[in-house]
Amino acid sequence: MLAVNFLLLAAVLFCIGVFGVIARRNAVLVLMSIELILSAVNLNFIAFAMMNENIDGQVFALFVIAIAAAEVGVGLAMVLMIYRNRKSIALDELSEMKG
């Protein structure tokens, strides 16, 4: 197995996620794109753990999974609150804090 296989796959997933964050207007879809980015990072952790024969990479991947779960919970609660207040979750309409 070539080392670059995993890393290139993770890079492609990461870039697709970045594109999603930039392009999407619906808040739930932006959260999904963030999940793609986190998965790509996790894939890198596992690949490096395998390359260096060191299990600490897997430990870190587990931490990332836990933080991602917390992030989705809070993120979706915020989206729900925005929806309740404005009847829309289009992110470009949220401009109250613009200077």
Binding site: L7, C15, I16, L29, A49, L80
Partner: protein
């Protein structure tokens, strides 16, 4: 890259079946990830995301990280996807295709993504050219738990507090009153 792969196919260190499996799963994952960010149907985007996350779990198994793979399936496909589907439901997404899911200037994302991808690919290929990862036996879960529960005990407890705080915060935010 494919050339070096074929050239090394004779070596004992390269497992052809593993590479073929990797390629198939990677293709499905990239297609599904692309669909997540381009589809016009929010529910379909969530279902394509399941495909990507399942593919990631399969790659973990290929990379000999079985415990992380099982956690991935439980946490992401089990819990996070249900959250997403509830989020879609509660924000009353239309059933079927929907307009206005993209920003006005969404085309800006294409050059950003392509440039970032090219840059990352160049750096990765330049650094790791044809390093081969040999056969790895799966790391025993016992070893993983030993690492988590002794040197990483403090971060582990911190993560549990973060999860608790996030759960309480989510309840407070989403509460109706």
């Amino acid at each position: 890259m494919i050339g070096t792969l074929l050239a090394q196919a004779g070596d004992a260190d390269v497992n052809v079946a593993m590479n073929v499996g990797f390629g198939i799963i990677a293709t499905v994952m990239i297609f599904a990830a692309f669909s997540v960010v381009t589809t016009k149907n929010v529910v379909h985007a969530a279902l394509y995301l399941v495909l990507v996350l399942a593919g990631v779990a399969a790659q973990y198994i290929l990379a000999a990280a079985e415990f992380v793979a099982v956690s991935q399936v439980m946490v992401y496909i089990g819990a996070v996807m249900v959250l997403f589907l509830f989020g879609i439901m509660l924000t009353r997404a239309q059933i079927g295709t929907e307009d206005g899911l993209n920003n006005n200037g969404w085309q800006l994302g294409i050059p950003v993504g392509l440039v970032l991808c090219g840059l990352l690919a160049y750096v990765i290929v330049d650094t790791f050219e044809d390093d081969v990862i040999g056969e790895r036996s799966p790391a025993p879960t016992e070893l993983l738990s030993d690492r988590i529960l002794s040197p990483f005990l403090v971060p582990f407890i911190a993560v549990s507090f973060v999860l608790l705080a996030a759960a309480i915060g989510a309840i407070v935010l989403a509460r109706k009153d």
